[in-house]
């Protein structure tokens, strides 16, 4: 059962990810991205990372994507008609190189033997994450708050006409 679910949602995520790239209309790309993120969050649930799955939906598929769609609507972007002609040749290099990298990664991961360690039932739970945030990762957690402040200041700097 878990395997069927895994393959279904993994295929969905991969398909949606490809769709993000090939769609000409930005809005369709954004909607495919939401689908991709949601499908990935199901994979997280299957791995026992409930907290990550919920966060993925709330933050990425929810908040960030709503902003994306909002901005696209506001800017009323035209349909991308074969723009960026001078970058066309990049397709012929980029796609083979990307596939080659995919091949390398697949070939590497294919031969890996599964680990022998046992997975704790609580490893992905909100409790476990909260605990490690405030013990092992106390310092990075606190610095992250500054990181967000900096991003905020940066957004204001760029957006405001006269500071």
């Amino acid at each position: 059962m878990i395997q069927i679910l895994f393959f279904f949602f993994a295929a969905l995520a991969a398909g949606a990810a490809i769709n993000v790239l090939v769609q000409k209309h930005v809005l369709y790309s954004a909607l495919s991205l939401i689908l991709m993120l949601t499908a990935t969050s199901v994979l997280f649930i299957l791995l026992g990372a409930d907290f990550l799955a919920v966060i993925q939906i709330i933050v990425y598929a929810g908040a960030i994507m709503v902003l994306f769609v909002f901005v696209i609507m506001l800017l009323n972007l035209p349909v991308d008609e074969d723009g960026a002609d001078r970058l066309r040749w990049l397709k012929f290099i980029g796609i083979p190189l990307g596939l080659f990298f995919l091949f390398l990664v697949t070939a590497t991961l294919w031969n890996v033997q599964a680990g022998t360690g046992t997975q704790s039932r609580f490893v992905g739970s909100p409790q476990a994450i909260g605990q490690s945030l405030f013990t092992d990762y106390l310092l990075p957690f606190e610095v992250t708050s500054l990181l967000i402040l900096i991003a905020l200041v940066g957004a204001v700097v760029f957006a405001k006409k006269d500071l």
């Binding site: 013990t135 092992d136 992250t144 990181l147 402040l149 900096i150 200041v153 760029f158």
Partner: protein
């Protein structure tokens, strides 16, 4: 259960905390003062106080926050470099921002925040802390690059830097996640231990190593991951270009030393050939591309790429000389390069951009002192004695020969010879051509101070390097 937080830990990050406090103070104070130049002076005071706290921590060797942050001579040496670079960059910004009419408190606050991120990077011995420090530094720098908001080139540079930086962070994180998967820990020592138990040709270790190195080569702008550098350096405000080319680069190298010499040290036989190839390409392509540039900012951007190539030699050698040479070279490079950028900042006047080589024509006749200072900085960048640059290059090349990398040393010396050619294009323009421009350089106390400090250290390290070498050696001898 281990102690995760003690009061001592707070003491270990006082220099960083102090920078944060001043940064936030600047953001608020910006609303209250009309004379924006005062904000720069406050930022300078903040950096000085942070330096004082750092000085009080000297000689400590202590692992804070349950072992995610190391306060060792290595991190203290690098934090000194960051503070010096930040102080000198703020000093050259004062007048420059007035001319560009973008003198705001946020600018100085972001420089302080960025420096704070670098300090965490230099101290991090844990992947998560390292990454958060890296992003703190990077996000502040992306904004600073685009700070000339009405200037299209600046906006474009910021956008390019941001997109490529985010992409490279993704690759870096991929490597980090694989390392975490392999070892079950984010601490560098645990990762090294886990890697040493696996065979040297283990495919996953190699994949982790390659993605991690690609991400890091991106951050230090090594070829073939260098394309963002000329655009970002050219478009950014010149004072920020100076800051990026020394401080951001030094922070990235501090991170590289920790990763390569601790975390993935067991894979050293595998990464040395990769790094050697990257080093040769970086030196050669950086120098050859610099020859054809007519814009001084772009030329110095390519020159900064090639310097990254020289520094990589220290990692390849990997012995005590080589590792000493990395912080030493970065320390020297800080003063020399900031000095050269300060001269270019001084060329920026009300209606003159001052970035083309032609803008420097006849500088010697208009402003002999400026031209002579620039000459000395360029000699130091090229590595000609008795300037400091020679000492740095000498140590790097000596390390390569000591460890039997003779071919690498020969290529590096040839590259240093090429670099003399394009540095001297600037010199020829300054000394031997008719002045096309009549206005002199901009005079400002901050600029004069920066030039004075830079020239004193460039010459002092050149003629009396012993104390600085001893400091650099002490920085690496304990940890690695």
């Amino acid at each position: 259960m281990a102690q995760f937080f003690q009061m001592q830990d707070l003491g270990a990050i006082t220099p960083e905390l102090e920078l944060v406090a001043f940064g936030m103070f600047l953001l608020i104070f910006d609303l209250m003062v009309q004379e924006k130049r005062r904000l720069g002076l406050i930022a300078l005071a903040g950096i000085a106080i942070s330096g004082f706290f750092l000085f009080r921590l000297r000689g400590t060797d202590f692992s804070a926050y349950g072992g995610v942050l190391a306060l060792d001579p290595f991190s203290i040496f690098f934090k000194t470099i960051f503070l010096v670079a930040a102080a000198l960059s703020v000093a050259i910004s004062l007048k420059y921002l007035d001319i560009e009419r973008e003198n705001h408190g946020e600018y100085y606050a972001l420089i302080l925040f960025s420096t704070m991120g670098m300090m965490f990077m230099a101290g991090a011995v844990d992947l998560v802390t390292l990454y958060i420090g890296l992003e703190t530094m990077a996000i502040a720098t992306y904004v600073l690059v685009g700070f000339l908001r009405s200037n299209q080139r600046s906006n474009e540079a910021s956008m390019k830097y941001f997109l490529l930086g985010a992409f490279s962070s993704g690759i870096l994180l991929y490597g980090m996640s694989l390392l975490y998967g392999l070892s079950g820990s984010t601490r560098f020592v645990d990762i090294a231990e886990a890697l040493s138990r696996r065979p040297l040709t283990d495919p996953i270790s190699l994949l982790a190593m390659i993605t991690l190195s690609a991400g890091m080569f991106f951050k230090v702008a090594a070829v073939p991951f260098h394309q963002w550098t000329p655009d970002a350096y050219e478009g950014a405000p010149t004072s920020i270009t100076a800051f990026m080319s020394v401080a951001v680069k030094a922070a990235s190298f501090a991170m590289m030393v920790r990763i390569f010499m601790v975390a993935i040290y067991p894979l050293r036989p595998q990464w040395v050939p990769i790094m050697a190839a990257v080093s040769v390409m970086t030196m050669t392509i950086g120098n050859i591309a610099a020859i054809t540039q007519s814009n001084v900012k772009r030329m110095l951007a390519y020159s900064s790429i090639s310097h990254a190539g020289y520094i990589l030699i220290g990692f390849i050698a990997g012995n005590e000389t080589g590792l000493t040479a990395v912080p030493l070279y970065l320390f020297i490079y800080t003063f020399t390069n900031l000095g050269a950028w300060a001269v270019i900042v001084a060329l920026r006047r009300k209606d003159v951009i001052g970035e083309q080589i032609d803008d420097m024509a006849g500088l010697f006749f208009r402003h002999p002192a400026g031209a002579v200072l620039m000459l000395i900085f360029l000699l130091s960048l090229a590595g000609i004695p008795p300037t400091a640059g020679f000492i740095g290059k000498y140590y790097l090349f000596a390390a390569a020969i000591q460890t039997g990398h003779n071919a690498l040393a020969v290529i590096a010396v040839l590259n240093a010879a090429i670099s003399i050619y394009f540095y001297f294009r600037i010199v020829v323009s300054m000394f031997m051509r008719e002045a096309t421009e009549k206005t002199g350089l901009v005079y400002a106390p901050g600029l004069t101070m920066t030039l004075a400090i830079a020239i004193v250290f460039t010459l002092l390290i050149g003629v009396y390097p012993d104390p600085f070498i001893a400091m650099a050696r002490q920085a690496v001898i304990l940890g690695f």
